[in-house]
């Protein structure tokens, strides 16, 4: 590590609004959904609970480094877990850093994991109502993602259709730990609907499918798993490309959240090379795989990669495209990136504006 990893005194720069493409709001408890659930389902949950492909009812099979995966100073003063208190979030994040828009990613409950196939769409509707009434209507800086029961494509499409056109919802959210790789045909109607409505698909690592994140069983350490999650996102992108999702829906936009981005060039180089040799297996890919990624996929910055020579990150960002990089803090998680200090390498003023604001405005259709 070099001393350049440390925050450097930043010369005064033009103050620009920041758009944060990864903010985690949270429920105080599962009861937060009750006002938005029909009585029949409230009673069902009280009696049978939530059945998901995970052995735990109140915890996660995937390790966490800190309680609630969060910064130690992000627990609201009024009790409740990090991210559950709007006023505290406004104070500690939005107001503190001049955030002009925050893209909300709800990690739990997902609705999509729900094994009861009747309950899953009901839960998603309740979640979206909760987001609308308790968050986006109360602070217009916050934009929600439409949470959908993605293992049931028809139900997911219905939920998208219900909210499409509502300016409080800027994207569609699908979990990444799915029953099949996300490029598979069972999920295509979701992409078709999202693309038709100009809504990006936001893919933040989430969900439970009962599988380990690695291809060969459960890892021992959080420090391992924290990185393996990024690898699973790479597999996801590969699936979207190779199955032809991006080719089939040319107007579909995909945002890969919190997977890092230093891997993007090397993944694309390998895909292009294999495609050059094996085009006949995937004739639906009429262009090099990298071209789909560079036109239809965006990447958030957090957690920011920190090479020994900070400038090395610039050549990676350059390759991906300065217009495809979206700043994110991941508040309130422990690996949160401070917008004032997370970027160690020098960017031009124009690059800063694109990464911190303009790219997000373009992708999400914000004012």
């Amino acid at each position: 590590m070099s001393s350049a990893l440390l925050e450097r005194a930043v010369a005064h720069e033009t103050k620009i609004g920041v758009i944060d493409c990864d903010v985690h709001h949270a429920m105080r408890s599962s009861k937060d959904l009750y006002p938005y659930l029909p009585a029949r389902w409230r009673e069902h949950l009280e009696t049978y609970g939530s059945r998901r492909p995970t052995p735990f009812t109140g915890s996660s099979p995937y390790f966490k480094a800190a309680p609630a995966l969060s910064r130690k100073d992000s627990w609201p003063r009024n009790g409740g877990p990090p991210g559950s208190d709007l006023a505290f979030l406004q104070e500690q994040l939005l107001d503190r850093y001049g955030i002009e828009a925050g893209m909300l990613h709800l990690l739990s409950p997902t609705g999509m994991d729900q094994r009861n196939q009747e309950l899953a769409p009901v839960l998603c509707r309740a979640i979206n109502e909760w987001q609308f009434h308790e968050w986006t209507q109360k602070d217009q800086r916050l934009k929600a993602a439409i949470v959908v029961p993605g293992e049931d494509a028809a139900a997911a499409v219905a939920e998208i259709e219900h909210w499409a056109g509502n300016r409080d919802f800027a994207q569609v959210s699908v979990v990444t730990h799915t029953i099949e790789p996300l490029g598979r045909r069972r999920y295509w109607p979701i992409y078709e609907a999202a693309a038709a409505h100009g809504l990006p698909i936001g893919l933040h690592s989430s969900g439970n499918n009962g599988y380990a994140v690695t291809a060969a069983g459960w890892s021992s350490y959080y420090v391992e798993e924290h990185h393996e999650v990024s690898m699973s996102q790479q597999a996801l992108v590969t699936s979207l490309v190779c199955e032809g999702v991006l080719a089939r829906y040319p107007s579909l936009k995909v945002v890969i959240v919190e997977a890092g981005l230093a891997w993007v060039p090397s993944l694309c180089w390998r895909l292009d090379r294999q495609w050059a040799r094996m085009k006949d297996e995937v004739p639906h890919l009429t262009r090099p795989p990298s071209s789909y990624v560079r036109e239809q996929v965006w990447f958030t910055t957090q957690p920011m990669d920190e090479p020994e020579r900070p400038e090395d990150i610039l050549s990676i960002l350059e390759w991906i495209g300065w217009d495809r990089i979206l700043f994110a803090t991941d508040y309130p998680h422990w690996d949160f990136d401070n917008p004032e200090t997370a970027f160690k390498a020098q960017m031009t003023e124009q690059q800063r504006r694109m990464v911190f604001r303009d790219n997000a405005r373009a992708v999400y259709g914000l004012g």
């Binding site: 590590m1 070099s2 440390l6 925050e7 910064r71 130690k72 100073d73 949160f336 401070n338 200090t341």
Partner: protein, 137 residues
């Protein structure tokens, strides 16, 4: 540099800390077994409020399966990303030579000495009977 009275000795018992602002800087004073240490409350990584983190010890290992735990309560972890710093020296655990948090000399001064000056005691009333924690900033 000037000497600032930030607390009475009894306000910061062993194992405790006090967060103060001196000359515009947020500084935490720690008591490790009766000795006082002052650290700047801003992590050199991304500027997090370092001194609000937990105090822990050092875990060292020379091979898997063997470990040694020492210096309990003398390592501060930044509440953001968990970077560890030695409270006594301000040095980081990961790269002590190159990465450190600013530390400030702290001493205990008798009230009789403090009332004479030239100590700065803006927020802590000083009497000759007490002992005071003084930070050089």
């Amino acid at each position: 540099m000037s000497k600032h009275v930030v607390a009475t000795v009894s306000e910061i018992p062993p194992g405790q800390r006090k967060l103060v602002t001196v000359r515009g800087r947020s500084i935490a004073v720690f008591n490790l077994d009766g000795e006082y240490f002052g650290l700047f409350n801003r992590c050199p990584h991304q500027g997090g409020p370092m001194c609000e983190g937990i105090l822990t010890g050092l875990i060292e290992s020379d091979e898997p399966g063997h470990y040694k735990y020492s210096r309990k309560g003398e390592i501060i972890r930044c509440p953001w990303h968990g970077w560890e710093f030695d409270v006594r020296t301000g040095q980081s655990y990961c790269e002590p030579e190159r990465i450190q948090v600013r530390s400030y000399p702290v001493e205990v001064a008798e009230g009789t000495r403090v009332v004479e000056g030239p100590y700065v005691a803006e927020t802590v009333p000083v009497t000759i009977e007490e002992q005071y924690v003084v930070v050089d900033v």
